[in-house]
């Protein structure tokens, strides 16, 4: 059964104010277009769990109440996004800090359907003092102390990938960060993809599927959906303008140009080409594509 819909539908049907949201694509293939649509729809009071991924924009637009993270600027003095959240939207963001692996473990516990996972990390650190989701217990087998990280089950997860089929059978390659555990822990699942492929492509390489169709609520075809973040096999990091959006003027310009001044991501991409030349997106595409050696199946 096809799950294909527009980005507008995918977000409005599946993301609600107050949701606990997982954002995939830490460092690789961030779902930038989907994030932009959440901003466009001004869905607020979100709690976000992610590794390094696009939370700054959501924060600065006042849509985030709480962040579960291993790495973020939590100090208003040093973050324009936090200042803006407070000044423009009257939102104070709270943070629960883990080490990166703690975020992975919380999501992994959610994916497995257990209330926590044990770890030999985090223990003895002061993170435990300020994050009640990290505890230490007596190990039932060894007698020593063992850390435990509480499960996180996001209401909705978003992942951008290279290919999936209309039913939502989803394949991503390259580094996966916390994508596997994050998307599999999520109750509702939105997949945005560079390309919707025939199911036959998926089914000739089923080991690459990271979540099966029956777990997926929405499939959106969105080329350059991770731009300006790199996506293996597709495009490199986007050029120009880094360091902008650190003040009110540049931030508001960006939000207007990329989100509220356009109806969708495709119009934004078209505007990028108008501004920067028709070859703007072409230029960041990979230049020397390499193919994997096919694996064989059959009877």
């Amino acid at each position: 059964m096809s799950k294909v819909m527009t980005m507008q539908e995918a977000i409005s049907k599946n993301v609600e104010s107050g949701d606990l949201l997982f954002v995939g694509g830490s460092q690789h293939g961030t779902p930038s277009a989907a994030i932009a649509e959440i901003v466009r729809q001004r869905i607020n009071h979100l709690t976000v769990i992610s590794i390094l991924a696009n939370t700054t924009l959501l924060i600065g637009e006042g849509l985030v109440d709480k962040v579960l993270t291993g790495y973020a600027m939590t100090d208003e003095k040093r973050s324009y996004a936090l200042q803006r959240a407070k000044a423009v939207h009257n939102v104070s963001v709270t943070f629960k800090e883990y080490s990166h692996f703690g975020v992975a473990l919380a999501l992994f516990a959610g994916y497995m359907g257990v209330p926590f996972l044990p770890t030999k990390g985090h223990i003895g650190s002061d993170m435990m003092k300020y994050n009640e989701n990290i505890q230490s217990i007596d190990c039932p087998f060894t007698g020593g102390q063992i850390g435990v990280i509480r499960a996180v089950v996001p209401d909705v997860g978003i992942l951008h990938v290279q290919r999936c089929d209309a039913e939502g059978n989803t394949q991503k390659w390259g580094t996966l960060g916390v994508d596997h555990e994050g998307i599999n822990s999520s109750r509702k699942v939105i997949i945005t993809t560079e390309k919707i492929v025939d199911s036959d492509v998926i089914r000739r390489d089923p080991n690459r599927t990271i979540i099966p169709g029956f777990r997926v609520n929405a499939v959106v075809e969105q080329p350059f959906g991770a731009y300006p973040v790199h996506l293996v096999g597709c495009y490199n990091d986007g050029p120009s303008g880094f360091g902008a959006m650190r003040d009110q003027q540049s931030w508001e310009n960006y939000v207007k140009e990329a989100i509220h001044g356009v109806k969708d991501w495709n119009e934004y991409l078209e505007n990028l080409k108008k501004l920067n030349g028709d070859d703007f997106l072409e230029n960041i595409k990979i230049k020397n594509p390499l193919k994997s050696e096919p694996v064989i199946t059959g009877i």
């Binding site: 830490s26 460092q27 690789h28 961030t30 930038s32 590794i51 390094l52 991924a53 696009n54 700054t56 924009l57 291993g70 790495y71 600027m73 939590t74 100090d75 040093r78 800090e97 883990y98 080490s99 990166h100 692996f101 992975a104 473990l105 992994f108 030999k120 990390g121 985090h122 223990i123 003895g124 650190s125 002061d126 003092k129 300020y130 230490s136 102390q145 390659w173 390259g174 580094t175 996966l176 960060g177 916390v178 596997h180 555990e181 300006p228 790199h230 293996v232 990091d237 986007g238 120009s240 303008g241 880094f242 360091g243 902008a244 959006m245 540049s250 960006y254 990329a258 990979i286 390499l290």
Partner: protein, 273 residues
């Protein structure tokens, strides 16, 4: 950023990266953070450790040589890796004791090797904030040996950190790591700065060598520390870079350093450490 002015043909930073790279053995699997640690590991792969496996937290397991990338997760650092996976897998490798060595940076480090990457002053009203642990707690909790590379000044080397992001040896009590449940036989083994190198003796940071070759003196080192450092009985001058080391360092590291490519969005993932 304190840049060492010296008369030699190499700086304290150069010495720091080269000294750190020497710690990596050809047979090691090394968990590597962004920045100086990445530079040190790429240098090692070009010198004495061509076969070492470099582990990058976002899911890269890489034995083959690669050009210094501008951060850990790039198209280039991924391309032709032996294994691409996720954060869970590489940290499981570490937690299960399969990684001989971790190399990381730090915000502050104290007398007993405890690292603060979180907050100076009160956690809720900090005088200074960093971005938090990233993968640092994972590296230092799990790797059999951890090496910290960082530029040295008195502020970054307090006697006791305000916030323990990554436990070192706590207050130096024997078995303190094991008591809280950290894996046995782990912890920081060396701190390498732009002024000196340190080891840990009975859990206490101990001055091992001074970068005399680029004009550093014992006094200068002591002035850039927040406590009266224990000094090794056989305190040495740091072994200066060899010609081969310097040539390789210039070619493979200095020439390959790139700034982060400019990007149009404010919300770019900041490279982790």
């Amino acid at each position: 950023m304190a840049q060492i002015k010296d008369t030699a043909e190499y700086s304290g930073i150069d010495q720091m990266i080269i000294s750190a790279s020497r710690q990596i053995k050809d047979t090691d699997a090394v968990y590597v953070g962004v920045g100086f640690p990445l530079e040190a590991s790429i240098l090692a792969k070009n010198l004495q450790a061509p076969n070492c496996t470099v582990i990058l937290e976002n899911g890269i397991v890489r034995a083959s040589l690669f050009r210094l990338p501008w951060t850990t997760d790039t198209m280039e650092s991924q391309l032709f890796a032996e294994q691409l996976t996720g954060l869970f897998y590489v940290n499981s490798l570490a937690q299960a004791g399969h990684l001989a060595l971790g190399v990381m940076g730090a915000g502050n480090i104290d007398r007993y090797g405890n690292v603060n990457d979180t907050a100076v002053g009160d956690y809720n009203k900090p005088i200074h904030r960093w971005m938090g642990s990233g993968g640092a707690n994972d590296v230092m909790s799990f790797c059999r040996k951890t090496i910290i590379i960082m530029e040295q000044n008195k502020r970054r080397f307090p006697e006791k950190v305000d916030f323990v992001t990554c436990p070192g040896y706590f207050d130096g009590e024997p078995e303190a790591r094991e008591k809280v449940g950290l894996p046995p036989n782990t912890g920081p083994v060396a701190v390498i700065t732009d002024l000196a190198t340190y080891t840990f003796e009975d859990g206490e940071m101990t001055l091992e060598s001074v970068h005399a070759g680029c004009g550093i003196t014992l006094e200068k080192v002591k002035a850039a520390l927040g406590w009266d450092i224990k000094v090794a009985k056989d305190l040495m001058d740091t072994e200066p870079p060899t010609e081969e080391e310097m040539r390789t360092y210039r070619e493979k590291i200095v020439a390959a350093r790139r700034v982060m490519p400019p990007r149009p969005m404010p919300s770019i993932p900041t490279p982790s450490r």
